[in-house]
């Protein structure tokens, strides 16, 4: 018994020793492995500390570009005509959305969402972007829409409302053709601008002043150092360099005058350009019909855009600077000047108008607008009564090249405005022009009809206004300008002279031509005497009627019988007050009929808006 007990004790002790032995080895291994872990941690935390410190900083600190607020646009009286307004967009962070399709369905049940908007969203979704960068689903939410999204926000993880500044044009379609608009910055624009400065910019000027002054209006990008979390959400701002806002521009434009000109057109297709003859500043630039630029800012729907494009009235077309029309008789005062300056005609010489003109007294009969003819007429009558025969004769005597050389000084046949973006050049007909166009040799008959502003002649309303201003200034031609001043002082300059003093052989020539233009309005035989009769100030003007379709030799023009689109364009150019000119105007009403019956009264309405006090209807006391 004792022996077996002892044996058991021995065995127990032995078993215990086996375990203890292994346990000690185990603990030693554990300590060694723990030291290994510690060594690893010390390596990361002490030896490589700097490296990982940098990595952690890179994780946390992001550099963010801050878009500068775009410069504002004011009219001459300080009315805000283009501003930046906060708008709210519905955006989606795809990383935080489980099922995009069902999310879109939920959004669709809450607010209006067209298939097209969804399509665009899906297109943007496929574009490259930073992780957790939001993608716009619907822009410009109304307050009611913001509210209904907010209420159901819990059903829409990853969907949120973002506020940003968007360009807004408070006058809608009134100023579109004068100032243009901005739209989303596109790839080709991005290639042209300084990418760094546009890092946060969404918009770029597409047309007009917004386009031409893009670099002035844009401003300087700001930079923010922000701390973000792993999902890219900004936790706090570390440092910030504020963006420099773009320059605010004050235009020559007068919103009231623009409104008056638009009202005067009364829904007809056409254009009115009013220019300050003392500065070259454009006071009104109307092209009707117009369109609202605001949908273009955030992206117009393709249906709405298609409708605008397919509108037979072509509202997208800027008739004021891109519309090219035969000037018709409105060009006669300057043609008279070219003949007088060239010495090929004499102001006082009389000639007989039988109602037609024949080159060398034979062949084709170029008809006067008055079939019976004006009888014996002088050059002045050519302007006052718009007698065509006088100018057929003048053109032939002066020669096309001499006329073209003289009129070229008034801006015809070339693009004008230094800050008017995208204007057309029109056509100043000459032998050289025809040859350069590959249209063959010049025929003498082409000179004849050039004398009444027909044939190859094409001018824009802007060119007509600028050249009329040069008549008012007696030969001082000023380049038309949109912008008067910038809040930052400097405006872009150009190499060429902004005004041209046109050489003048006999100062009396200007007096004569202007006198004749005054008689158009106020003389007892003037074509627009009905309009000038009740004016409270004196206007110098010239009516014009441009043929859209050539008439056969013995065909009569009968407005009632021909389709509207083939009816004549009605034109008028003029300036007021005649004695001390302030403004020049050019009016064109497409297919409007006669210049004296349609364009001249319209022009007077606009001039009245400038000259008269709106309350009293009396002349303004002081000049503007």
């Amino acid at each position: 018994m004792f022996k077996s007990d002892l044996r058991q004790i021995y065995n127990r002790q032995q078993e215990r020793q086996v375990f203890t032995h292994r346990a000690i080895i185990g603990f030693v291994v554990i300590c060694l492995l723990s030291l290994g872990l510690l060594a690893r941690m010390a390596y990361l935390q002490v030896v490589q500390h700097d490296t990982y410190q940098d990595l952690a900083t890179q994780n946390r600190v992001q550099h963010e570009a801050v878009a500068p607020p775009r410069g504002l646009l004011y009219d001459r009286d300080g009315r805000l005509i283009a501003l930046n307004r906060p708008v709210k967009d519905l955006v989606v962070v795809p990383e935080q959305v489980k099922d995009i399709d069902s999310t879109i369905e939920v959004v669709r049940s809450l607010i209006e969402l067209s298939d097209e908007q969804v399509e665009r969203f899906e297109k943007r979704l496929k574009q490259r972007r930073r992780p957790f960068q939001s993608v716009t689903l619907r822009s410009k939410l109304s307050e009611a829409e913001v509210a209904s999204i907010s209420v159901d926000n819990y059903r829409l993880p990853g969907v949120r409302i973002e506020a940003r500044l968007a360009r807004y044009y408070p006058y809608g379609d009134l100023l579109t053709h004068a100032i243009g608009y901005v739209g989303r910055l596109n790839v080709s624009e991005l290639e042209k601008v300084d990418g760094k400065n546009y890092a946060a910019t969404e918009y770029h000027g597409k047309l007009g002043v917004e386009r031409f002054y893009e670099s002035d209006l844009h401003g300087q990008v700001g930079l923010r150092q922000v701390e973000t979390n792993a999902r890219g959400r900004v936790m706090r701002v570390l440092t910030q360099t504020d963006p420099v806002p773009g320059a605010d521009l004050t235009l020559y434009l007068d919103v009231e005058l623009q409104k008056a000109a638009t009202d005067a057109l009364a829904g007809r297709r056409g254009s009115v350009v009013v220019m300050d003859v003392r500065t070259g500043g454009i006071l009104a630039m109307v092209s009707a019909p117009s369109y609202d630029p605001n949908p273009f800012v955030t992206g117009i729907s393709s249906a709405a855009y298609r409708e605008l494009r397919q509108d037979p009235q072509i509202p997208l077309y800027n008739r004021a600077i891109r519309g090219q029309y035969p000037p018709g008789s409105t060009i006669k005062p300057l043609l008279a000047m070219s003949g007088l300056e060239a010495g090929t005609v004499n102001w006082d010489q009389r000639q007989f108008d039988p109602g037609f003109y024949q080159l060398g007294g034979e062949g084709r009969r170029y008809r006067d607008w008055l079939r019976t003819g004006h009888g014996y007429v002088r050059l002045a009558d050519g302007i006052i009564e718009s007698c065509d025969i006088v100018f057929y004769d003048l053109a032939v005597k002066t020669g096309i090249d001499s006329m073209a050389e003289y009129l070229g000084q008034f801006g015809f046949g070339r693009e004008l405005g230094m800050d008017i973006w995208g204007d057309a050049s029109g056509i100043l007909p000459s032998r050289e022009w025809k040859r350069s166009q590959g249209r063959g040799v010049w025929f003498p008959g082409e000179t004849v009809i050039s004398g009444i502003g027909q044939g190859f002649w094409l001018t824009t309303p802007l060119q007509l206004a600028a050249s009329t201003a040069a008549i008012a200034n007696k030969g001082l031609w000023r380049e038309p300008r949109m912008v008067a001043s910038s809040s930052l002082g400097d405006l872009p300059t150009v190499e060429r002279p902004l005004q041209i003093e046109i050489p003048n052989k006999d100062p009396r020539n200007w007096e004569r031509v202007i006198k004749a233009m005054v008689d158009v309005m106020h003389g007892n035989r003037g074509t627009a005497r009905a309009v000038g009769a009740d004016a409270q100030y004196r206007i110098a003007g010239k009516t014009g009627t441009a043929q859209v379709r050539g008439l056969g030799q013995d065909e009569d023009y009968d407005a009632d019988e021909i389709e509207e689109r083939f009816r004549d364009h009605a034109l008028f150019v003029g300036f007021a007050p005649a004695e001390a000119p302030e403004v020049a105007i050019a009016v064109i009403v497409e297919n409007g009929g006669g210049g004296s019956s349609t364009a001249a009264p319209l022009a007077k309405e606009v001039l009245d808006a400038y000259m008269l006090d709106p309350q009293s209807g009396q002349l303004r006391v002081s000049a503007r």
Partner: protein, 374 residues
Amino acid sequence: MSQPESLVGYRRAPGLIRWLGLDGPLLAGLLAIMGFGLYVLYSATGQDLDRVIAQSIRLGVGLILMVVVAQFHPHRIRLLTPIGYAFGLLLLVLVLLFGTGAKGAQRWLDLPGLPRFQPSELVKILVPMMVALWISRERLPIRISVVWVALIMVAVPVGMIAKQPDLGTSLLVAASGLFVILLAGLSWRWILSAAAAGAVALPLVWINMREYQQQRVLTFLDPESDPLGAGWNIIQSKTAIGSGGFFGKGWQAGSQAQLDFLPESHTDFIIAVLAEELGLVGVVLLLSLYLFVIGRCLVLASRAGETWGRLLAGALTMTIFVYVFVNIGMVSGILPVVGVPLPLVSYGGTSAVTLLVSFGLIMATQREKNRVYG
């Protein structure tokens, strides 16, 4: 016998603790780890007091279970072990048949009337209990014929867990069983032979794998080759640890942790939060606490009266260290990423409860005193 009893003051344990059969120093060590863990968890959850409270409740439940388990006499536990083991295997079969879970892995069992749970957690304890029971029937050192059967006892549940698939847990279960065999005095000859055989087998397995399988293993071993996918976690956790430096960025001031760059920051990767905010100093403190607990557990194991108790307590202790080592090794980028939590610190209930039950078992082994020296 040169027991280190005087060193750890076992005899001076307070009355209640002794009456409950608990070990004072071990309990103190565990409470210190849990307290430290909750302190880090508050920061790691982004100052979410609700989650800290939830975790405290889980730990409380675990502590109660620990005390309950510590009340059982080893004799009874041994009696229940084979039934428990068989039950554990049954549950694993059920998991493979009806289990639920995410990402193609079936780990959870959703039995009616019971809370959802992971049977594999239970098996982590049952396997060493069963293997220890099997081995302790015969005298030590262990004979090789006994080893084969023990290996089968380990391999069956490990295989089933691996099939779920849950690689991390199956490795831990395998370790817990193998530690029993190692502690039972398996001769070094066999240990070295097995290691050598494994070393030879690996290249053969590698050659026979298909290319996509090899690729998967490579990504598993070197997650940083895939910086946006599997490597993201490791790059971010190393950045968090390294940027912490010696003294850390300060509690609640770690940019990696607070700005959500660190994934799983309150669960498997919580040591990175600690390292970032409290620095190497904090890491050393936590590791010291773990070593203290482990050392104390090994002392208790060696003091257990019966071989079964010694083997079980020793194996459970070793397994707990495996948790610590694999977790910290993985977060610091020296081991592949497997889902192993940091014991008593990571957020989550199941593993904390299992661990505390293990400590309860270790304390329970103390109820059998060495008949000769007791």
